[in-house]
C-alpha cells in the first residue's frame, strides 16, 4: 500500500495527536511503514518486495522539496540555524471546494498560512534527524533542524512548490565545498538535479524532477538552498509511482520520464 495521505509518514505515534489531532489507531504499523522518499529510503523500499506487509507513507509536497534541498547539509552537520520559507500553488490543497481556494480569492494575492504550525513540519524534522543519525552525528549536530521554523505561503498559481531554506552554517564553508557536497549527494539520482542558477518552479512543471540550487551568500554568511518541484508529480503522484517501481522491481524511472512542460 502506498498511501498519499499523512497516515504513515511519521514514525513516532506521539506526532499524530500533536500535529494531526488524533491518536494513530495502529501505531504498530508505523514501525513497518517506509517513508517513501526514494533518495533517502531506496533500500528500504526495495526490501518491501519481500515484506509481508508493505506500507509506504508517501511524503508531503513541501517535505519532498525541502528535505532533498537540506539533506546534504544535514548529513555534514552544517545546519546551525534554519528558516524554511516555502511557496506553493493551490493544487497542494487538493480539489476540495474551499472558499479560500476560489479564483477570486487566490488570484492577485499572496498569503502565509499554517503560521507557526504547518503539519509538514513534523516530516521535515523527522527526516533531517534521520539523516543526522545516519551520518553518525550527534542528535544536536544540526541544531537548526528542530524545532523548525517552517512558513508556507499560497501563491496565485496551480502547480509548483518553491522552498527557500536560509541556513546559518555551523562552521565555515566555501561555495566550492558546497558544490562538491551536492554534486556527490545527487550524482546518481535520476530525479534530482543540482543547478548552477536559481531555478523557477516552471522549470519542472509536469515532471518528476526536483531542482536544487545552493548558494553561499558571503555577505550575510548564510547558505541559501532553493529547491523546486511540481507538487503534483514529485510532490505526490510521481513520487508514489517512483516508490511503486522500487517496491515492484521495476526500473525506478518507469512512467516518469515525461519532460517539463514549458512555457
Amino acid at each position: 500500500m502506498i498511501d498519499l495521505g499523512p497516515d504513515f509518514r511519521l514514525r513516532d505515534p506521539a506526532d499524530y495527536p500533536r500535529w494531526y489531532g488524533f491518536d494513530h489507531p495502529r501505531p504498530d504499523l508505523l514501525a513497518q511503514a517506509v517513508y517513501g522518499l526514494p533518495e533517502l529510503h531506496r533500500a528500504e523500499l526495495v526490501a518491501l518486495a519481500d515484506a509481508e506487509v508493505a506500507i509506504v507513507g508517501s511524503p508531503g509536497c513541501y517535505p519532498t522539496a525541502t528535505i532533498l534541498g537540506l539533506a546534504p547539509l544535514a548529513g555534514a552537520g552544517l545546519i546551525g540555524d534554519l528558516v524554511v520559507d516555502a511557496k506553493s500553488g493551490v493544487s497542494g490543497a487538493g480539489r476540495e471546494t474551499k472558499p479560500d481556494m476560489m479564483f477570486g480569492e487566490v488570484n492577485e494575492s499572496v498569503k502565509a498560512y499554517g503560521v507557526g504550525g504547518h503539519r509538514h513540519t513534523a516530516e521535515i524534522e523527522q527526516e533531517l534527524a534521520l539523516v543526522t543519525a545516519r551520518a553518525g552525528l550527534a542528535a544536536n549536530a544540526n541544531p537548526g533542524t528542530a524545532p523548525l521554523d517552517f512558513l508556507p505561503h499560497l501563491i496565485p498559481m496551480t502547480r509548483g512548490i518553491f522552498s527557500s531554506s536560509h541556513v546559518r552554517p555551523s562552521r565555515p564553508i566555501t561555495q566550492a565545498a558546497l558544490d562538491a557536497l551536492y554534486a556527490e549527494a545527487y550524482a546518481d539520482e535520476p530525479f534530482v538535479t543540482v543547478v548552477a542558477a536559481p531555478p523557477a518552479t516552471k522549470h519542472v512543471t509536469g515532471s518528476n524532477e526536483v531542482r536544487i540550487h545552493v548558494r553561499l551568500d558571503e555577505r550575510s554568511g548564510r547558505i541559501l538552498v532553493l529547491s523546486v518541484e511540481d507538487n503534483i508529480v514529485k510532490g505526490a503522484a510521481g513520487q508514489a509511482i517512483q516508490a511503486f517501481n522500487l517496491v515492484h522491481g521495476l526500473p525506478e524511472t518507469a512512467g516518469l520520464e515525461q519532460l517539463p512542460l514549458a512555457p
Copy 2:
C-alpha cells in the same frame, strides 16, 4: 524634489558604488536628503518646508513593508537574528520590456532573484540601524539586522508585496508584549494597521495601507512578522504623495484615502 528612484535613499556615499555600481556625483546632497518614509521621518519631512533644498528619497517597495514590519522590534533591541524572505508581483520591476517579465515566463511560476545581493538590502539595513540608534541602543543591539539576509521572489501577480520576517529574539518575549509594542508604535499612523490574523496582499490592493501581523511562534521560538503593501501605492507613488503632503503642509492623507479594491 521627491525622487522615486534610489539616488537619494542612502546616506552613506560608499553605499552607491557597493550596491549600485556607480559613484554618487553629488554626495553633498545625500546629507540633506530625507528618506521619505513618513512613519520614521515625519518631522524631517515637515521641516523640508523651510529648507532651501528639499530632497526626498522615496523608499523602495520592499524596504517600506519590511522596515515598517521590523521597526518596533529594532527599537526594542529584539532582533537577535533575522531572515527576510519577500515576495513581489511584477510591477515592482517597472514597465520596461524585459524577457523575464513576459506573461509566458511569469505565469504559473515562482523564482527567487537578486540572490544574496538585492539592492534594497542597503536601505533596510540603514533604516533599522537608524531606529536602533534613535532608541539609544548600542549599534550591535540588533545583531540580526546587518549584514541582512534578504531574499526576494517574483510571484505571478501584478501588484503586491508580502514580506515575511523571521526573527530570533535577542531575549525572551511574550505575544502580549509584542502586541503592546506594535499597538503603541502604530497607534497614530493613518496608513499602518496591525492586524490580528495573517494578511494577504489583496487586502491592501490599490490603497496606501501597510498591514502588519506579528506572531510569536512559541514552538520554534521565533517572531514572525508578516507585512503587506501595494507596491505601486504605499511602496511607490502613494508614499511619495504622502511625503509631498507633509512637505507642503497638506493633510498627510490628502489624495490617499482610496479603499482597497476587492476582489
Copy 3:
C-alpha cells in the same frame, strides 16, 4: 429599493418562468420597476423620487456592456444580424463557493457556459426592443436582436467583461457615420466613453466607466462593437449607486469618480 438581482429586471412576467424557472410572485410590481441603466432610463429613475413605490432592477453585468454597445445601432435600425460573444472574469459569478470557480479549475483555461441559454439574453433582448420602439421603428427593424445568439465565456481573471458584438448591418453604412452616431449618443454621458482603438478590460478596472469601440470591417461587411466594463462597478455596485444618485437627486457621479487602477 435598488435590487441587484434579476427579480425586477424583466418587464414581461412570462420571462421569469422561461428564463429563471419560477413564476414571479408579484407581477404587478414589474410594471412599476425601472430598469436601472441610467443611459437609457434616466428620466424614469429621476421620476422615482416622487413615486410611492420606487423599485429599480439593476442590470446584469453582461447586459450593461452589451446594451450600451448596441443601443446606437438599434436606435438607427441597423442590426440586421447579430452575434454577441462575451467574456467575463469570475467575479460575475458571485462569491459563492462552487467547484468550477476554484483557482485550479479556472486558471490557465477558457470555457463557454450557458451555451444557448444564458439568462442575461432576456434583458438584452428587452432593452434593444425598447430602444427600437423608442426610435419609432417597427418591431422587426432590428431583426438581429431577437432571438439573440449570446454566448458568454469564463476567462481566468477576477474582474472585467469584454463584450464582442458582431453586427451585419441592415443597410450600407460608413465608418464616419458610425463614429458620428456613437459620438452623438454618448456625448453627454459621464460613464460611457467611445474610444478610437480597441479597448482592454483593464482600461476600466475599478471604475464605473464603459468603453466602446465601433469598427466597420469593410472586408467582411460587418460592424464590430467591442465594449468593456468592470463587472463589479458599472456592471453591478457602481451602476446601482449611479441609479441611487438619480433617484435621490444627488449628482449622478457622486461616489463614482474613482479612476481605473492600472496596471
Copy 4:
C-alpha cells in the same frame, strides 16, 4: 521541410501581399507545398514521401481549431452565415519580447486584436473553400465562409485556444443530424474528439488533441461550434510532428501520445 511559419500555408501567391505585406519570392513552390493539417491533407502528406521536394506549411494555431471545428459543416454546405470569435493565451504570439505581452499588461485583462484583419483569416477561408470544393459543392455553397469575420482575443493565460464559431445554417438541421455528421467526420481521427459537453482549453493542455462540441441552439437557430486545442502542441509543434510522421511513414501518433496535464 516542415515550416511552422506562414510562408507555405497559402496556395494563392496573391494572398501574400494582401495578408502579409510581401510578394512571395518562390510562388512556384507554393503549388507543391502541402498544408500540414493531417485531418484534411493526410494523403498528400503521405505522398510527399516520394516527392523530390517535400514542403509542408504547418497550419496556424487559430486555423487548426477553427477549420477542424467547421469542416464537417462546410462539407455539408451548411454554413449560411459565420462569425468566428476566438480566444488565445499569450504563447501564440511567440517568445519575442513585446510590451503588450508583459505580465503586467496581460494579467487581469482581455482585449481583441487584429480587429478586422488577422492574417489567419486567409488560411481559414482557403481550407473551408477546399472542403467545399472537395464535397463537389458550388463555390458559394457555404456563403458564410468568405469573406470571413474572424475576431481573435488575447486572454490572460499561457497556453490554449478556444474558437467559438457561430453558424447560421443554410438549411434546417437537427442536433441528431449534427451529431451524426461530426461522429462520422472524426470517427477515425486519433487527435480529434467530439465531446458532448462544452470543452475548456485546460482539457487538452499539453496534448495534441482537439476537442469539438457542436450544439444547435434551437432558440436562436444557430449552430455553435466550440473547439479547443493547445496552441503549442496541436496548434504548432505537435501538429508538425504529426505531419512529419506521415511524410516519413511513421505511425501518425508517434511521440504524440502525451496526456493532457490537469490541473
